[in-house]
């Protein structure tokens, strides 16, 4: 017998609802529903060229640096103006800080909270999971809040302001970090690295980098008690014991933005689209949004982001079920995030894991848990390489008319802004966030979005408490923004009144 379960997702930024059909304890179909209209693009039309720098960072309270950066890059792309090395490195450091805090908070505060679900109460690892992951007070929760609190000071030092840093502008950055500032940033980063190695990994970054396949990972866990009991070791043991490695396989197509800002060679920075195990070079013209199942006018809202508008329908047809559009690359759905990033980078551990069994909820979280190691090494290098005698800003002559785009790998995956100016005013603006890729509805060919596909086949022991569905959905670390930051006394579980996606 098929049971249909609607599941509002708390601990997901903004509004999201997941509907799954369960037959004999297995999810047989799924629909991911963005329940509210975002409308930021419409807000930007007719405004001054630079207004996107102020407005788009408010799309998200978590990834505001990412939006600020991409908005500036879109204008630089429009102007055909390259950015100096110093500015690129400072921007990359700020973006790295945003990723560090986002990755670790997501895993230990939000994802791991499901591991203390009462459904696991009989498992031998349950009590230890509660000790570590209990919301607000678990030992891992507390140490993660305190450690990630410090790393964001780096952005405050480099940007001269926190929160709402607005130091990234077309042409570079407005601040001029001194040698003393950079020294302070290095100290903060060292402190974070010590915590990450000692507490999260239980070993050095170099030791983790030496792990090239899942067998070596198992040997690492069982090799030493300190590995086994580290946050990484326990999370993996717990995830495997609770079956997270057996659920969440999606289309096996992955998309990653080129690292234009971190690259030593401007204009190329890797990234790409992986389909059928083959990595293809990234080309943004292959991106198109489809709206057959999204609540927008089909004629005007489908196509490349520079050529389409966002026109909501007043009375959507029954088959239109989400306020998310369905972005596609080469006509294919693609998941994005730390796992896609690792695969595009040809990381041997994740390459072997995906080749052996495809993605899972646990693989995605493992990629997110290990990404800070690489980010830390990159940030250390950039902090060493900044030359304070060189400028951080070059004036940009912004044309009154033209089009441009900015793309980066934000904390949750590929983030793109497309802008068109006419007479110095914004004539067109489109934003595609990582969650739009991952949480997209079915496309024009009725192909499911990445999360919808990942949910099919998920075992559900108790439809009244489908925690397994939560594992799969959360492994994509969704961010359905913007949130209205109000609190409701009677709201059952959500701390904010939301107007998301």
């Amino acid at each position: 017998m098929t049971t249909t379960v609607y599941m509002p997702m708390n601990r997901v930024e903004g509004d999201l609802e997941v509907k799954v059909a369960i037959d004999d304890g297995i999810v047989t179909d799924a629909w991911v529903i963005g329940t509210m209209y975002r409308g930021v693009e419409a807000m930007l039309i007719g405004r001054g060229a630079l207004d996107g720098l102020v407005i788009t960072p408010r799309i998200c309270g978590i990834c505001s640096t990412s939006h600020l950066l991409v908005a500036a890059m879109a204008l630089e792309n429009l102007a055909g103006s390259p950015v100096g090395t110093n500015a690129r490195m400072v921007r990359s450091i700020a973006l790295g800080a945003e990723k560090l805090q986002s990755d670790l908070r997501h895993i230990f505060l939000m994802f791991a909270a499901d591991l203390v679900s009462s459904g696991y109460a009989q498992h031998p690892l349950y009590l230890e999971a509660v000790r570590r992951y209990q919301p607000f007070k678990g030992s891992t929760v507390v140490t993660t809040i305190l450690a990630t609190r410090k790393v964001l000071e780096i952005t405050a030092i480099l940007g001269g302001q926190w929160p709402h840093s607005s130091f990234i502008v077309p042409g570079g950055i407005t601040s001029q970090p001194s040698k003393a500032d950079l020294r302070q940033c290095r100290m903060l980063l060292s402190e974070f690295r010590r915590w990450y190695e000692r507490t999260v990994l239980g070993c050095s970054l170099e030791r983790i980098e030496a792990i090239k396949n899942s067998m070596q990972l198992e040997e690492w866990i069982s090799g030493k008690e300190v590995h086994r009991d580290s946050e990484l070791g326990f999370f993996l043991r717990c995830g495997q014991a609770f079956g997270l490695d057996t659920m969440g396989r999606s289309h096996e197509s992955y998309l990653t933005a080129p690292d234009y800002i971190g690259a030593n060679e401007p204009g190329w920075g890797g990234g790409g689209f992986i389909d059928g195990g083959v990595l293809q070079p990234f080309d943004q013209v292959r991106i198109a949004e489809q709206v057959k199942h999204a609540k927008y006018h089909t004629r005007s809202s489908s196509g490349h982001p520079l050529a389409t508008d966002t026109h909501p329908t007043e009375q959507a047809d029954a088959h239109k079920y989400s306020w998310c559009k369905a972005p596609r690359y080469n006509g294919r759905p693609a998941e994005t995030g730390p796992l896609a990033e690792a695969l595009a980078r040809k990381d041997p551990l994740f390459g072997q894991m995906i080749a052996a069994g495809g993605a899972s909820a646990l693989t995605r979280e493992l990629a997110r848990l290990l990404r800070p190691g690489r980010i830390l090494l990159d940030m250390e290098q950039w902090l060493r390489n900044i030359d304070t005698d060189q400028p951080y800003y070059h004036p940009v002559d912004l044309p009154l008319d033209g089009a441009g785009m900015g793309l980066i790998e934000a904390p949750r995956g590929i983030l793109g802004h497309w802008i068109q100016l006419s007479g110095g005013y914004i004539d067109h603006y489109q934003v595609i966030t990582p969650t739009t890729w991952n949480a997209s509805p079915r496309d024009d060919q009725d192909v499911r979005g990445p999360i919808e596909e990942a949910l099919v086949g998920t075992p559900v022991r108790n439809p009244a408490d489908p925690v397994e569905v939560g594992h799969v959905v959360r492994s994509f670390d969704l961010c359905m923004v913007c949130s209205v930051h109000a609190v409701s006394k009677k709201g059952a579980s959500l701390g904010r009144l939301r107007i998301g996606t």
Partner: protein
Amino acid sequence: MKQISRIVCVGNSLVAGDAIGILVYHELRSRQYGDHIEIIEGGLDGINLLPWFEGCRKIVLVDRVIGFGEPGAVLRLDLDAICKDWQEAYSHSGGLLYLLNSLPFLKIEPMPSVCMIGIEGAGGRDIVRRAADLALEAVHENV
């Protein structure tokens, strides 16, 4: 030397229904409030507001609330009351309520006294002024 106290105003300046905390921020900035008080625009931040809770004697949050009274009501809520009502309230990155619920376990020294000025409804000019009055009154109180 007097210890610093902070008023942290929270909200989204781009969303009329949630902008009132930010309007109160601007109202407070136009007033005389003393050099031992800092007025902070907290925006949409949650756990990222933690640094403002450190090194001060008192935190007064200003935010919109729902379900406490009639539209237009301006209320003072203490930390214990907030946490009692909102145990389950947090977003994916750990919102403000996650931070408030975690505060007792973070071992902040000294732990500031925390209260919230909650505003029902989107508010108007008089309500903004009243919330600013209450915030200043709360921040000047002896702990």
